[in-house]
């Protein structure tokens, strides 16, 4: 089992889902892939289908229209899976608190392993959040 944990820590594949935020966390997440930050150093890859993913990275408050899709994607992911909430919105709805079409925060809908605070968090912070999530495997 120790070997498997080692492999999992060395190869976390992310699935990114934007659940109704303002896009900025998404941009910063993508920026983390690019030469200055380059998360592939840690074996982190951004995958596009929930079937391949280990970590679900959610940004934004959960909008009502997104809620169902978010849950379905979470269910489609194979075990073991982790959830990382990026940005202040996932923690508390952030600046959108009180808007009628927002149905957050994220932990109302699914267990969250790590929150990355910030509006938006810098790419370094997102990488740190993912690494911290791996410690929970």
């Amino acid at each position: 089992m120790g070997l498997m944990r080692f492999f999992r820590k060395k190869s976390p594949w992310l699935l990114h889902f934007s659940a109704g935020g303002c896009n900025n966390c998404d941009i910063e997440l993508v920026a983390a892939l690019t030469p200055r930050f380059d998360v592939e150093r840690f074996g982190i890859l951004l995958r596009n289908t929930p079937r391949h993913a280990d970590i679900l990275v959610v940004t934004g408050p959960v909008s009502r229209q997104c809620r169902e899709r978010l849950l379905r994607i979470y269910e489609q992911m194979p075990e073991p899976k982790l959830v990382v909430g990026v940005g202040a919105c996932t923690m508390s709805n952030g600046v959108y608190d009180g808007c009628y079409s927002v149905d957050g925060p994220l932990d109302k809908h699914m267990p969250v392993d790590v929150y990355v605070p910030g509006c938006p968090p810098k790419p370094e912070a997102i990488i740190d959040g993912v690494i911290k999530a791996l410690a929970r495997l």
Binding site: S11, P35, R41, F42, N48, T49, H52, D54, Q76, P78
Partner: protein, 314 residues
């Protein structure tokens, strides 16, 4: 009895499962590292592919309820089995492959297509529109690159006047590498283009174009099945590179460094790596074509080059 045992040994250890598996995963790791450097990044460690496959083997295995589960499950196994068998037919250590057949060139060309067909079957059986769409693109692409690939191989076969890879290797040991023969140069270019399509690399990664159809046929695969598909793909890279090596680069050639006899497998691997890195470079400097553009490119440019070679050597 000993024959069966030696076959088993060849299949499981050298040059079969263990050897090819380890080498091809390492090759893909090197490929990813080099690609990252070309993109101005540091990139993953070169053994990253081992981590990825190891992790996938330990993940939950999901078969979608609407998928045809038999085909869905069998496809990766079949792909995996077939591609390892190719390695047995390739001259890896010496001119003599582990498994000697009469016309192994044709068998290899057939077997090299089985992973592709399995991926298609997997895509169709997954009952996912992306899978089906990716599979149909794969079929179209297969008909594109395969013709150029076969004609190029045929040109070499005509030149050597044999259908056996071991004859190719021994011919080249006597008469020099075929890549140095100017009449076969167009065939070499054609086959390099064709393997770029065969290995689904940019600009021909159309069946797996992630922004268009997610991961194409592999969209619904997860866990161990995905791992098998991935290993099969990685070995395919090595097998195709080994095939080109045997065709044009003289196959495994033992050599001496300071009196120490280096076995042929080392030169084989170096040549394979050179071919893999060539495809890596190509995939870093191009954009993905559309399927119609790709097929047109294969059928005009690549096929014409291969035919020119064939006509020259006849």
């Amino acid at each position: 009895m000993t024959e069966a045992l030696s076959f088993l040994l060849a299949y499981l250890i050298f040059p079969g499962l263990l050897f090819t598996g380890a080498v091809s995963l390492l090759f893909v790791g090197i490929d990813r590292k080099i690609a990252a450097h070309m993109q101005n990044r540091i990139g993953p460690p070169i053994w990253q592919e081992f981590f990825d496959v190891g992790k996938l083997l330990g993940k939950e295995d999901i078969t979608p309820t609407s998928a045809q589960s038999t085909v869905f499950t069998l496809a990766p196994l079949l792909a995996f089995g077939a591609i390892v068998a190719v390695m047995l037919l390739l001259p890896v250590n010496s001119a003599q492959p582990a498994l000697v057949l009469v016309a192994d060139l044709i068998v290899i060309i057939y077997l090299l297509n089985i992973p592709a067909i399995c991926v298609m079957l997997g895509g169709y059986s997954s009952a996912c529109p992306f899978g089906a769409s990716g599979a149909s693109r794969y079929v179209v692409q297969l008909f594109g690159y395969e013709l150029a690939f076969i004609i190029a191989a045929l040109a070499v076969a005509v030149k050597v006047d044999s259908l056996s890879l071991s004859d190719f290797v021994s011919y080249q040991a006597q008469n020099g590498w075929l890549v140095l023969d100017w009449r076969l140069l167009p065939a070499l270019i054609a086959s390099l283009i064709a393997i770029q399509g065969k290995l689904l690399r940019v600009p021909f990664d159309i069946p797996e174009a992630e922004v268009e159809i997610v991961h194409g046929p592999l969209t619904e695969y997860s866990g161990p099945k995905l791992a098998l598909m991935r290993i099969a793909y990685d070995i395919e890279i090595l097998a195709v590179a080994g095939f080109i090596t045997a065709l044009f680069l003289g196959g495994p050639t033992p050599f001496n460094i300071g009196g120490v006899q280096i076995p042929g497998v080392v030169s084989f691997l170096i040549k394979c790596l050179a071919i893999v890195l060539f495809t890596t470079t190509l995939r870093c400097i191009a954009a993905r074509l559309r399927i119609d553009q790709a097929v047109r490119f294969f059928w005009t440019f690549a096929v014409i080059l291969a035919v020119i070679s064939l006509l020259l050597v006849i």
